[in-house]
């Protein structure tokens, strides 16, 4: 006889769906967004990043392959590194049409602006009705509009964030660092200079005694002093990752902020 209660054991090894490549601001792997909407979305997202430095990426995947959408979205967000490094101002809007699941994953830096409740409301009020009607492109476009609206709602914070991440020129901090390194290098290598140069350029007075620049230098042992080249303190410049035609994540991370939903 069949027992009434059946225990289903899920395989312990989680079926991890392979991660798609970040080919642009809209990665429509499931193919549910039409070309015109996609082009409009890409343009909108690009313009918004220029303005705010916030990176919003939309992706659709055919199947989660048994994985829950939350860990998958977090993995994908971190793999793509959305948002600027240190600022973590990225947002990933992910839709899995065949699993009927969607999620807005918010980077650490935007958790305070686009709260979990905002994400939930956008999902429930904007995306769910459109998706139920089969209008994926419309639902996603309106959801992106809502996200931008919320992010723009905190205008002062948005401007500050944009300024912080668009500074490509030399700032006061850079000058201070260069000055510090220069002074330090002068003091440090100055010791070497005075240990070596008098022997080379100075006039020899006796064993271990040299006169150079009107001063007498004494060297009380015959130890060899090795010549040492000058190394200038080089400061590595920041290169803007978003220049050029290609798009790549800025190196941001997410701690699981945002909200998920289904329809």
């Amino acid at each position: 006889m069949l027992a009434g209660m059946v225990f289903l054991l899920l395989p312990l090894v989680a079926l991890a769906a392979s991660l798609p490549a970040l080919t642009g601001r809209v990665v429509d792997t499931a193919g549910v967004i039409d070309a015109a909407s996609e082009a409009a979305l890409v343009q909108k997202l690009e313009a918004f990043e220029k303005k705010s430095s916030d990176q919003i990426v939309v992706t659709t995947i055919p199947s989660l392959e048994g994985e829950a959408i939350e860990p998958y979205a977090n993995k994908l967000f971190r793999a793509w590194g959305l948002g600027q490094a240190g600022e973590d101002n990225g947002i990933l809007l992910i839709v899995a049409p065949n699993d009927r699941r969607m999620r807005i994953e918010v980077g650490y830096g935007l958790e305070g602006t686009l709260t979990d409740l905002h994400s939930k409301l956008i999902i429930e009020n904007t995306m769910v009705p459109a998706f139920r009607a089969g209008d994926y492109a419309g639902g996603i476009t309106r959801a992106v509009d809502d996200i931008i609206l919320v992010l723009e709602g905190n205008a002062a914070e948005l401007e500050a964030r944009a300024r912080r991440n668009q500074d490509t020129g030399v700032t006061g901090d850079d000058i201070a660092v260069v000055l510090f390194i220069t002074v330090w290098a002068l003091l440090f290598f100055g010791g070497f200079a005075f240990a070596i140069l008098p022997r080379i350029f100075g006039r020899k007075l006796g064993p271990g005694r040299y006169e150079w620049l009107g001063r007498t230098f004494r060297y009380n042992n015959g130890s060899r002093s090795s010549g040492r080249g000058w190394s200038s303190g080089s400061s590595s410049g920041w290169s803007d990752g978003s220049s050029g035609g290609g798009f790549s994540g800025g190196g941001g991370s997410s701690g699981g902020g945002g909200s998920s939903g289904s329809w």
């Binding site: 010791g191 240990a195 042992n221």
Partner: protein
């Protein structure tokens, strides 16, 4: 000309020794001296994030219980279960060596697991109250609670990975040399055994 007087020829040698020491420092880190402390600090930071998110969940609960009470006061048992589980979970005081103390770590984990299951019972009961589900306050709390649960899951995953790296560093070459010669007080950290709720297979009832 004080600078010139400072660098007397007799001190030139001292400066050279000092410079040699400075140059040797990066070599020391290349030997893997930094591996263990770095991994340890990362694991500790990951643990702080776990505690932080559990604390946030505990902070959300009183508000949630009050809101549910307004609509489903007669679900006393479930509500009290949550309040009790929360009290139990927050009562667990973590000693300073919680990460290397299996008993303390287990007590903490059990307290939080109890709260997780009590909360899921409450949220299951809530499904029977459409008025409550439509309540804006409840919706906000639910969104925050879901977000916190997910952040807990992420923080736990990060902690598991950080501890794996740290414990591996303590036992593998070449960092094991530093562990035995220098960092003798460093003990492996405790890790979460399984993700909450994943140890129980889902039950399917065909009756």
């Amino acid at each position: 000309m004080t600078a010139l007087r400072l660098i007397q020829p007799s001190t030139a040698r001292l400066i050279r020794v000092f410079a040699a020491l400075l140059l040797a420092l990066p070599l020391l880190s290349a030997c893997g001296y930094n591996t263990i402390p770095t991994a340890e600090e990362q694991a500790k930071a990951a643990w702080s994030e776990v505690l932080n998110q559990y604390q946030r969940r505990a902070d959300l609960i009183p508000n949630l219980v009050e809101t549910v009470k307004g609509y489903a006061a007669h679900e006393k048992e479930v509500l009290e279960g949550v309040v009790e589980a929360r009290a139990k979970a927050t009562q667990v005081t973590l000693p300073a060596d919680a990460l290397t103390n299996p008993e303390a770590f287990k007590a903490f984990q059990e307290g939080q697991a109890g709260l997780t299951s009590a909360l899921s019972r409450l949220l299951a009961v809530v499904e029977n109250y459409p008025d409550l589900k439509a309540n804006q306050n409840f919706l906000a709390l639910q969104a925050q609670l879901e977000g916190t649960e997910n952040r807990i899951a992420v923080a736990r995953r990060d902690y598991i990975e950080a501890v794996r790296v740290y414990n591996t560093a303590l036992r593998t070459f070449p960092s094991v040399l530093w562990a035995t010669l220098w960092f003798t007080g460093n003990k492996p950290f405790e890790n979460f055994t399984a993700s909450e709720g994943a140890s129980e297979p889902p039950k399917v009832n065909f009756n």
